[in-house]
Amino acid sequence: MTTTVLDSVTLFRRDMTHALRFPMMTISGIGTASFFLLLFVGVFGDALGADFLPGDGGHYVDYIAPGIILMAAGTGTAATAIKVNQDMQEGFIARLRTMSIARMSVLTGQVVGSLVRTILSVVLVVGVALALGFRPSATPLEYLAALGVFAMLTFALTWIAVAFGLATKTVAGANSLSLILQFLPLISSAFLPTDSMPAGVAWFAEHQPYTPIIETLRGLLMGSGIGASAWWAIGWCAVLATVGFFWSRALYNRPRGA
């Protein structure tokens, strides 16, 4: 167990060196979310918000910010999938597999690295949101819970991204597959309440993983009702993380060329 931690830390440090070497890959993840924030608040804000926000009391940015923050968790996954895929293609993972090291440390180091990078990156999105007038009403405890929700989703998505990186044969493939994680929030309650959507789309938006997670975060930050969303959020994250972890482990131990 101690060697697992030791080796994971070693490989996490390697991952951090990579992130510092290629800040653009890290920053582009955040950039996407910030761009959507600017687009929806600055360009569409007045038109979209007017439809459903009560009176003139609500700000659209307050509605949309929690969803965009969670979107940042997804946009970081491209870098993760790409890095894992590169390690696989360049034979670096094969080299580590022939060494007497804790087996899963290669992947856990990567996951911890992605988690740290994404949590750091979300600070920027929150900064942009605050500059645009985002005013959360959360208590310190609710902030802590919000951070927990964010970390939970990032952890789950990162394991899925690692599996994507291992499952695809090229960097382009890894990147394309991770787009699912990045753009899934577009058809959720991130930008508009689901009851304003056509029936089919609404059904999908209501039943996809992002919506309850977004509703939970929105409830924590803005004081809107959470209800059963919290349990759905925890459930979805647990399922995604478990699937991602075991899928990654199976792919990692899979013989090369088979």
């Binding site: 060697t3 030791l6 080796d7 070693t10 490989l11 390697r14 060196t17 990579h18 070497r21 290629f22 360049e90 034979g91 670096f92 094969a94 080299r95 580590l96 597999r97 022939t98 060494m99 007497s100 090291i101 013989p255 090369r256 060329g257 088979a258």
Partner: protein, 314 residues
């Protein structure tokens, strides 16, 4: 002492059999070379012996550890330098080595000393701070081998370590391999360069179509093929006809206009041949002495893939 013991190794991908019952015995401190044409199963063999792939059948002991029961023990005893250098392109040469030292839990001081020593030994001191992506092919291979050596493994697998290298880098690599052998390391080498096997290997096994078609020392293998010959070159078919009629034991090639006359290439047999040519009034345009080398062995034993002759030389 035995470093690697393999018996009855089999591997198939679906219906395609890659290894069809391989037996190998590699003595400790020796260089064993696995030769074979592309697709013979060399890399598959290395990947199985280094725990990257699971065999379908067979008993394998590497460094005293049973591969099926104690793969982690095997991993602790071996070092692997694969066909494509697996270095971290983003990290510098020093950081790459440091990473290996950390993963081997060498401790800060010992790790640093080992890294410095290897940088020196592989002539990478000047480039130590640069990202590996800026290295030349030869430097990358040296770094790759240095990374393999960080933990001082007793058994090293080198899968085509000089493929794609220029002659100078190749000789540097050979020198490094010889130094390892001198220090008592066992080397398992696969190569497509027969000269490389001839230069380095104590024993060579020839793999073709998933079975070993020959095994022995380089000298023993060379004795497997017919001896040398003298190649007579002609400029027109008519003169080749004349020569072929005089030298009935020769092998003619009508396209190349050559006649191969058996002979060991020694001075006295060459003199006899020249006397005979003068006597028969056969005047070739050129003459080349060909002594048997591993290329001949390779070509003779791997020419026909199906139904290989199982030959073992002691």
């Amino acid at each position: 002492m035995t470093a690697i013991e393999v018996s009855g190794l089999r591997k198939a991908y679906g219906k395609h059999t890659v290894l069809d019952g391989i037996d190998l015995h590699v003595a400790e401190g020796s260089v064993f070379s696995l030769l074979g044409p592309n697709g013979a199963g060399k890399t598959t063999t290395v990947e199985i012996l280094t725990t990257l792939q699971a065999p379908d059948a067979g008993r394998i002991v590497v460094g005293g550890h049973d591969l099926a029961r104690d793969p982690q023990g095997v991993r602790g005893a071996i070092g692997v330098t694969g066909q494509f250098s697996a270095v971290d392109n983003i990290l510098s040469g020093r950081k790459n080595l440091q990473l290996m030292a950390d993963l081997r839990h060498m401790g800060k001081r010992a790790g640093r000393a080992r890294v410095a020593e290897l940088l020196e030994r592989f002539d990478l001191v000047e480039a130590a701070g640069r990202p590996a992506s800026t290295y030349s092919g030869g430097m990358r291979r040296r770094l790759d081998l240095a990374m393999t050596l960080v933990g001082t493994p007793r058994i090293i697998f080198l899968d085509e370590p000089t493929t794609g290298l220029d002659p100078r880098s190749r000789h540097t690599m050979w020198q490094s391999i010889r130094e390892l052998v001198a220090a008592g390391t066992t080397i398992f080498l696969t190569t497509q360069y027969l000269e490389e096997a001839d230069q380095l290997a104590d024993r060579i096994a020839l793999l073709n179509g998933g079975v070993l078609v020959a095994e022995g020392t380089p000298a023993e293998l060379k004795r497997l093929v017919p001896g040398g010959h003298v190649r007579l070159q002609f400029s027109d078919p008519a003169r080749l006809d004349v020569a072929a009629a005089r030298f009935a034991d020769g092998t003619r090639d009508d396209d190349a206009l050559t006649l191969d006359v058996p002979g060991d290439g020694g001075v006295s047999s060459l003199r006899t041949l020249l006397d005979r040519l003068a006597h028969e009034r056969v005047e070739p345009d050129g003459l080349a002495v060909h002594t048997p080398d591993l290329d001949d062995v390779f070509l003779a034993l791997t020419a026909t893939a199906p139904a290989p002759i199982k030959e073992k030389v002691r």
